[in-house]
Symmetry: C2
Subunit: 302 residues, 2 copies
């Protein structure tokens, strides 16, 4: 999307994220009123990418606003993989930390899978560190402790908007570990008939035209065309792409993976920005709260 | 299927399983010629279901034929969950055992997920004990140590027959942990565009008609109808259903999930029996050999 959809079609991630953050804040007030510590989230950022710095600052601010403790560790871009993992282990051992994030991308030469894999699964609130959470998401009859935040945010939007998932044809475009794969598994778990399209898909339009729900997560501005969308379909646009715009002071603006004209045929759609983006942080906080609460429940059992 | 397809359409699992078993046997001859022990597989069977007894005996025979050590432990149907897990742990600790199977179904009252979850992931040659292997199968960029045997067998048949998977539209019917879910992830990893259909899918025919490859794994005799199959499509029929047949001495015969008339339109098809069935054991032996070899490689590194 690169223009705001009309009010009756718009699915506002900003609105729902605000509501979810309010719910989290309320639960933390109740928790700390009983005398126990609030949830704690740690974020490790390596190097000085300006976009990563913004993302981390947003997370820190959001965590503080709901009453969580946020610990941000900024490491020099030349930090070795071994030293990054050492810091992960410090947070693994820290009993006041319930969730650990490593901001991606990491500098070149660092193996992200190895670093993410070092996060204690019980603190892996992003859900993509090791294979355990994804495995439990894929296995029927199992419930993962944490689901990747953006993927969970997409499905949460559908649920909060009372959009019927069971029996719907859902097409997910993209098969990344943090969005495409987990969102497909989540929708399948909710009894949608899910098709995953990707760069090797032939005639993607023929798949999309069958879709009641489309989740676009490929990172290509305006990729999904109006001609491919069934009238009334619900569109979740995960893309956040920066494109040139000389009419703006910054010279750029953000657009999604869905072309602006799609709004003419679709039933509902998330805007970019203000759609899935704000949900990611809200779900991150939700996962961190859940991590804290599950520890509290375990302590009570003892 | 309930009649044999014509030779030019038939994908013979019996043939390919025989070839794979020959390959495994050859590798074990080479392995043991260097003076090291052959692979060992343990199978635990609880109770006296006649079908389970046949499956276990087939696995034992097949393992012995390729030169593996097979240890079968038969437990009384009244054995407690705790005692079954104790036996799993005995095999976990046994250094001559590379793969552990627990024959399903377990008697009522036993939690299969808990028992399977007790298998050491390094010996979980069925790949569905814990979430680790499935998680690595779902995560792009990760390679699972073991993939569930029947699922891997389906894809192995396509590969050995040189059927193009990349870019193909594949429809998987069923979403079980041992077939539907892993076969969908495998095909997706091979760059097919995969749709998973199940009991909540609306108008399943409309999905199937787009499919270049159909994997049917729902356990309903003759479920897939000729009218739903695109001319030339490749069909992998995972179903093994026993139906009444008064013309036979036994009074029953085995049929797949695909109706006999499908052979008139499809391009290629696996028969039942003699299709996917024999592949499952061949892949089980392959996984067990791989488990043995990976240990040998680790020992060499030290």
């Amino acid at each position: 999307m690169d223009v705001a959809p009309p009010v009756d079609k718009k699915i506002s991630g900003t609105k729902w994220a605000g509501i979810i953050r309010g719910e989290i804040q309320q639960k933390i007030v109740e928790l700390t009123a009983t005398g126990v510590r609030p949830p704690g989230i740690a974020c490790i950022i390596v190097g000085d990418r300006p976009d990563s710095a913004v993302y981390v600052r947003n997370k820190e601010t959001a965590a503080n606003e709901v009453g969580m403790k946020a610990a941000v560790l900024r490491l020099d871009g030349a930090t070795s993989q071994e030293d990054i993992i050492k810091q992960v282990n410090v947070f693994n051992a820290d009993e006041t930390i319930d969730g650990i994030l490593v901001q991606l991308p990491l500098p070149k030469g660092i193996d992200e899978r190895v670093v993410l894999g070092a996060i204690d699964p019980n603190k892996d609130v992003d859900g993509v560190g090791g294979p355990v959470h994804m495995g439990n998401l894929a296995l029927r009859g199992c419930t993962p402790l944490f689901v990747p935040c953006t993927a969970k945010g997409c499905v949460e939007l559908l649920k909060r908007e009372n959009i019927k998932i069971e029996g719907a044809n859902a097409v997910v475009i993209g098969r990344s570990n943090i969005v495409g794969v987990p969102v497909a598994l989540l929708l399948q778990g909710e009894n949608a008939t899910v098709t995953v399209c990707h760069s090797k898909t032939q005639d993607i339009g023929s798949h999309l035209l069958k879709a009641d729900i489309i989740v676009a997560a490929i990172g290509q501005p305006g990729y999904v065309k109006k001609e491919w969308v069934k009238p009334g379909a619900v569109i979740i646009d995960v893309g956040i792409n920066q494109i040139e715009d000389k009419t703006r002071k910054s010279g750029t603006r953000l657009v999604g993976d869905v072309d602006a004209a799609v709004v003419e045929v679709c039933g509902r759609i998330t805007p970019v920005p203000g759609g899935v983006g704000p949900m990611t942080i809200a779900i991150l906080l939700q996962n961190t709260l859940e991590s804290r609460l599950s520890k509290e429940r375990k302590a009570e059992k003892k």
